[in-house]
Amino acid sequence: MTITSPFKGLKLAVLSAVAGLGLTAAALAQAPASQLEAIQSRAALQVCTTGDYKPFTLAKDGSFEGIDIELAKSLAKAIGVEVRFVQTKWANLMDDFTSGKCDIAMGGISVTLDRQKRAFFSAPYLINGKAPIARCADVSKFQTVADIDKPETRVIVNPGGTNERFVRANFKQAKIEIFPDNVTIWDQILAGKADIMVAESIETKVQEKIRPGLCAINPDAPLQYGEMGYLLPRGDVVFKAFVDQWLHLAKATGEFAGIYDRFVR
């Protein structure tokens, strides 16, 4: 008796431990904690955005505008909460996001595998990539990288970003000129001081519209493939499922195209 009793007690203790474990695990498996609930509890969607990337996110007079700003408002509405923008810089984006300053990051963010190590991405909402822009008379002669990469071609590029990286990696014969002003760089081509610039395809579409005489070259079949998505908390499949579903519906209903056209066409 004195021997069996303690074992009975032990068994009970172990059993309750096992039962407890089973229950905890089952409850977690069914309902993992998700940012989707946290957002609804605080009644606000916090959106990290840089505010410096036309036509996606542009800070203006204390507020923001752009394609992804409109879409952030649409997402907040779909969740039934207010939208709250948190301004960040490209260099701080991942640190701000992973330290929990926002629930989602939006605004022309390229899908990269380095970012994918620390976060999830929504389904891509835009296929993007590098496209050339030139004087409209030159469109037919600058169709491919090989067309452009000739000794007589003058390529102009803004320093320090992915545009310069693309130009350095792909053009060995063409003359490369660095021009630091992002606003007036396009006029250099119109003025005949340079022949061509390679930029994000969507940016070339915008510039084509505001600067008659410049033509984007095959912006829908870019020289280098890229896509954009929204940054989401790593491992939170519940929130990702919601965002992907919302994005799918925004595309299927034409809401996305309506917003896109307002800023790009």
């Binding site: 004195t2 009793s5 303690p6 007690g9 032990l10 009970l12 203790a13 172990v14 309750s16 431990a17 407890g20 474990l21 905890t24 695990a25 977690l28 993992p32 904690a33 998700s34 899908v111 595998l113 994918q116 190590k117 999830f120 991405f121 280098q224 493939y225 896509e227 908390p233 790593r234 491992g235 939170d236 499949v237």
Partner: protein, 266 residues
Amino acid sequence: MKITATIARAFSGAALCTVLGVAFAGGARAQAPASQLDAIQSAGVLRICTTGDYKPFTIAVGEGYEGVDVEMARSLAKALGVEPRFVRTKWADLMPDFLAGKCDIAMGGIGVTLERQKRAFYSAPALATGKVPLVRCADKDKLQTVADIDKPGVTAIANPGGTNERFARSNFKQAKITLHGDNVTIFDEILAGRADVFVTEALEATVQEKLKPGLCAVNTDKPLTFIEIGYLLPRGDGVFKAFVDQWLHIAKSTGEYKRYYDQYLR
């Protein structure tokens, strides 16, 4: 009895701590689940189980490996910023080796099956394929479907013991079935007119079409059977799967995957 109660209480206490500890760990995991993605980066190495015996996906050459999925494994390791380390396995040992934790991912022409899905995750499919007829080019139009082939007077050849023989046996009732044990000379049997058709994997048929003028692979884009090739991942690890799927999606979108495919198939 007094001792008993004390021991029992002590154990209950311990058990409670365990339950709380687990619950707490569980809560933390929901926000930041432990993933093989982090373990691989900490180790600085991506371990890849591969059989090294399945052209054009994984071929052991001396001490090293080549093939479409071997190139893809190197690409994945590079995306992770780590070294690839190949771990040799056999088809029969694939699941036990993978489940024992000998590797982080298994790659090399692995067909997607629901049997394996019970014990592992798969990446998004890398490739859809299936069995197609390989025939003399003159017969290309008349031997397109199972019904076309399954007629008296048609001789179907198959290598014994694998899924090719199984397919022939279960689909051809009228046609004559010949078995040929040599995987290298089996194709010449068709060229020599001793057989009319060999139903085999579309990729293999494509390779042989190149190697043996006079032979044509029929409808390689519409195989008679359906099989997907995917990469085997740890079950339940959504974070690692998201990374691998994103990498694969980009490799396909940029044309990187097609480059490896063409390198080994064209």
